[in-house]
Amino acid sequence: MTKTKFYETIDDILELPIGTIKGDEALSTLPWDSLAVVNYIATCNGLFGVVLKGDRVKETKSIGELVALVAGHVED
């Protein structure tokens, strides 16, 4: 999946207008909460077949760190 498409997926998880996420955002500036965390884990499982550790996802601080968790599945 391309990064642009993956950012749109994160837009969808956060219920933001498509195109909002550019990739350099801090999660503290976004509606990132426990519901978003579980949606992110489930979405990544559906897209890539990976099961992310819950605590790893909770510890992330930025969109870049979130994308890094699925490195290898998201292309530049």
Binding site: S34, V37, V38, V51, K53, G54
Partner: protein, 375 residues
């Protein structure tokens, strides 16, 4: 992971009881906000819950068991065992099952004990009771599974409060030579206990004054040490990793193909969790094979599987069905069973008035203060 096959034991009837006190999405919106509750409900699938402000696990299970004895026509002196699965007993001691033996008027010859399990508890309880009966000495048993988990929720915990409800169930099992086999698959990983637990109230962490204080914690939740702590992200990870292999192993052990199974009745953790497990197992999202029956009750811990069957599968009273039940959660603990169920007795879900049923222990003269002014 252990796989076990039990012959000659049958589920005869199931009764469920819930408090008549209802909390709706709108009630929760007063605390958490309308838009936030819309997001929560989209995830959990729970629009209203039956909750107990006063009823205890024993009260709900007593109501369910009493009705079960009526509808099965089983004489009280024909019951050989009463086993209660709960994480919310009435008292730290004695076992609530002993109190229920007395309250139900069962014979002193009855075997009675509690099992401390939650989300995996109903299926674990079925395994324990079926094993006892299959051993050959006991003929009839009541499996009681119930919890009042809403009473352990921190009032402002948005991840817990809108999700959990309270319920008690009673299941009648007996030895029958022609009963189809039950096949169980189970396991445990205690390293997960840290992600879902209650900190204070037993020997490792007795309740002190500081444990009663409701204070904001680093995860953003205001709670006391008596309230339930839940790391929802880790619960989801555990369920996604642990449940599908258990079901696949169970299907193999039972010799069932996915198409053989009429219904999957999983612990009703949340609609989101069930849909994701169903997706991984390739259960059709539009079909009725995956039973979701928590909308009107919430996640009711050990009672959620029988309650979902009662809510969604009334055909079980007339029709033979191949069912896969799976409990999973707190512990981490998991147990699944494949049962070809013969038609069972399953009356409508009971609504029990949420009033206080005073316990007998509080009025014990020995508990009175020698000098009332010492208070």
């Amino acid at each position: 992971m252990a796989s076990l096959r039990i012959e000659g034991v049958q589920i005869v009837g199931i009764v469920n009881a819930v408090p008549d006190r209802i909390r709706t999405q709108e009630d929760d919106a007063a605390r958490f906000g309308v838009e936030e509750m819309q997001r929560v409900v989209k995830n959990t699938g729970v629009t209203r819950r039956s909750v107990a402000d006063y009823l205890c696990t024993s009260d709900l299970c007593y109501a369910a068991a009493t009705r079960l004895l009526e509808v099965t026509g089983w004489a009280k002196d024909s019951i050989d065992a009463v086993i209660l699965v709960t994480q919310t007993p009435d008292y730290p001691s004695p076992a609530t099952a002993c109190l229920l033996q007395h309250r139900l008027g069962l014979a002193p010859s009855v075997a009675a004990f509690d099992i401390n399990l939650g989300c995996s508890g109903y299926t674990y309880g079925l395994w324990v009771v079926a094993s006892l009966l299959a051993a050959g000495k006991l003929k009839r048993a009541l499996l009681l599974a119930g919890d009042v988990v809403s009473r352990a929720a921190a009032p402002t915990d948005r991840a817990v409060v809108p999700l959990f409800g309270d319920a008690g169930s009673a299941t009648a099992l007996e030895c029958r030579a022609d009963a189809p086999p039950m096949v169980f698959e189970m396991g445990t990983n205690g390293s997960g206990g840290i992600h879902l637990h209650t900190l204070a109230g037993a020997a490792k962490h007795p309740i002190r004054e500081i444990d009663l204080l409701e204070r904001k914690r680093k995860d953003g939740v205001v709670r006391s040490n008596q309230h339930t702590y839940m790391n929802g992200a880790e619960v989801l990870t555990f369920a996604m990793v642990g449940v599908p292999p258990m079901i696949e192993a169970l299907r193999t052990a039972a010799g069932w193909t996915p198409a053989d199974i009429d219904y999957y009745v999983f612990h009703q953790a949340s609609r989101f969790m069930l849909k994701n497990i169903g997706r991984i197992l390739r259960i059709s999202p539009t079909g009725k094979q995956l039973v979701i029956g928590l909308e009107g009750y919430g996640n009711t811990s050990s009672a959620s599987i029988p309650l979902a069957m009662n809510d969604q599968l009334t055909e079980l009273t007339t029709t033979r069905r191949k069912i896969v039940m799976a409990g999973f959660g707190i512990g981490w603990s998991w147990c699944a069973v494949a049962i070809e169920m013969m038609p069972i007795i399953m009356p409508d879900i009971l609504r029990v008035p949420d009033v206080l049923h005073p316990g007998e222990f509080e009025s014990l003269p020995d508990h009175e203060f020698v000098n009332p002014s010492d208070v």
